[in-house]
């Protein structure tokens, strides 16, 4: 894993800060960074363990981003925390909401975070982004990340830049992982608008 420096870090920080702010408003709680923003170059083999033990069950919202800026965006929340968060949003007691409603709410949560993050990138780069509808899944985080690694491996490159961070609700042990994998090297993306 090699660090990537430069003005890109500031833009990613701004984008992730904005995502945290919007998500805080959506959830009605205060979110803060716990791990800081990391922009690093990773070997594909390292991706599955990026969020800790690979068999950890998570709820995830995944977006494929097209347009001027391409890449993959993944919001992953450990399963018990995700269930609790969605039930709080829906205002239901434990086990009352049906799975379709839970998935739909999680997709909306992903939309809120993903749009906030991508809008900042679009503004700063002066480009258009076109995220796919969210794909919601409840599964092992390592399996999701390994599937992403497989999709990237097709392009015959072994190292990819990865932007990742962790959010936490104040006073609660509810980590949220946000991962952005650009479809092209960060250095080759457009210069930030001044």
């Amino acid at each position: 894993m090699a660090p990537i420096c430069g003005g890109m870090t500031a833009v990613m920080n701004e984008a992730l800060d904005h995502a945290a702010h919007v998500l805080s408003a959506f959830l009605g709680t205060r979110l803060r960074w716990t791990a800081g923003v990391r922009i690093s170059s990773h070997r594909l083999a390292e991706l599955p363990a990026l969020c800790g033990p690979e068999d950890t069950p998570v709820a995830a919202a995944f977006f494929e981003v097209r347009g001027d800026l391409t890449g993959y965006l993944l919001l992953a929340i450990p399963e018990p925390a995700a269930q609790e968060m969605v039930e709080q949003l829906l205002g239901v007691i434990e086990g009352e909401a049906d799975q379709q409603l839970i998935d739909s709410t999680l997709g909306e949560l992903g939309n809120v975070v993903g749009s906030a993050f991508l809008n900042v990138l679009a503004d700063r780069f002066g480009i258009t982004v076109a995220p796919s509808p969210p794909q919601v899944t409840w599964d092992m985080v390592g399996a999701l990340l390994a599937t992403l690694a497989g999709a990237l491996a097709i392009r015959a490159r072994d190292e990819w830049p990865v932007v990742h961070t962790q959010l936490q609700a104040s006073g609660a042990d509810l980590p949220l992982y946000l991962i952005w994998i650009p479809g092209q090297p960060i250095e080759q993306q457009r210069e930030v608008k001044r």
Binding site: E54, Q135, T137, M140, T147, G150, I154
Partner: protein, 175 residues
């Protein structure tokens, strides 16, 4: 027992060692186990993509079209007999859809199956496809593979007739 994790594109070959090999979080990847039960020689690989490319000559276990002959060769060096080797596999799910990519999981499974057939290796058990992740473990000493999924109990993949003899006897005594 030593527990060893096998990462993307990695493999392991061994003979009657007291180890458990595990591939955590198989999504579109395929976990392949080959075994000669008589000689107790095993191999396990974490296959990522169906076809190799020009820059990948040093990663034969990573690709469906190169993994089978490579593992068979490595196993023969430890004394395995080609005609006694059987296969088990898991993975190849479609957990995420990509607009410009084919179903990598299905393609991985298809190519591994083709290669096994080409080399005359029978598949005795598999859990492939679907949309969920799997963790595949192989108990090298006893010849027992297990598959785990989120929200489901661990399942023994290996048919009872294929586990190593002394283990099968114990199983029968309890059944």
């Amino acid at each position: 027992m030593n527990r060893i994790s096998i990462g993307l594109g990695e493999y392991r070959v061994g003979r009657a060692v007291d180890e458990e090999w595990t591939i955590y979080g198989l999504g579109s990847c395929v976990g392949l186990i080959l075994c000669d039960p008589g000689r107790r020689v095993s191999a396990m690989a974490h296959v990522v993509l169906p076809e190799h490319h020009a820059a990948s000559a040093d990663e034969p276990a990573k690709f469906g079209d190169t993994v089978v002959p490579f593992l068979l060769h490595e196993m023969s060096r430890l004394g395995a007999r080609r005609e006694a080797i059987y296969a088990q596999l898991a993975g190849g799910a479609r957990m995420l859809s990509f607009s410009e990519l084919p179903d990598i999981g299905a393609r991985n499974v298809a190519v591994v199956r083709e290669q096994l057939a080409l080399h005359g290796v029978p598949i005795v058990a598999e859990r492939v496809g679907g949309t969920h992740g799997r963790t595949l473990s192989w108990d090298v000493r006893h010849g027992v593979a297990t598959v785990k999924r989120v929200g489901a109990p661990a399942e023994v993949l290996t048919p009872q007739d294929y586990v190593f003899e002394e283990v099968a006897v114990v199983w029968r005594s309890y059944s």
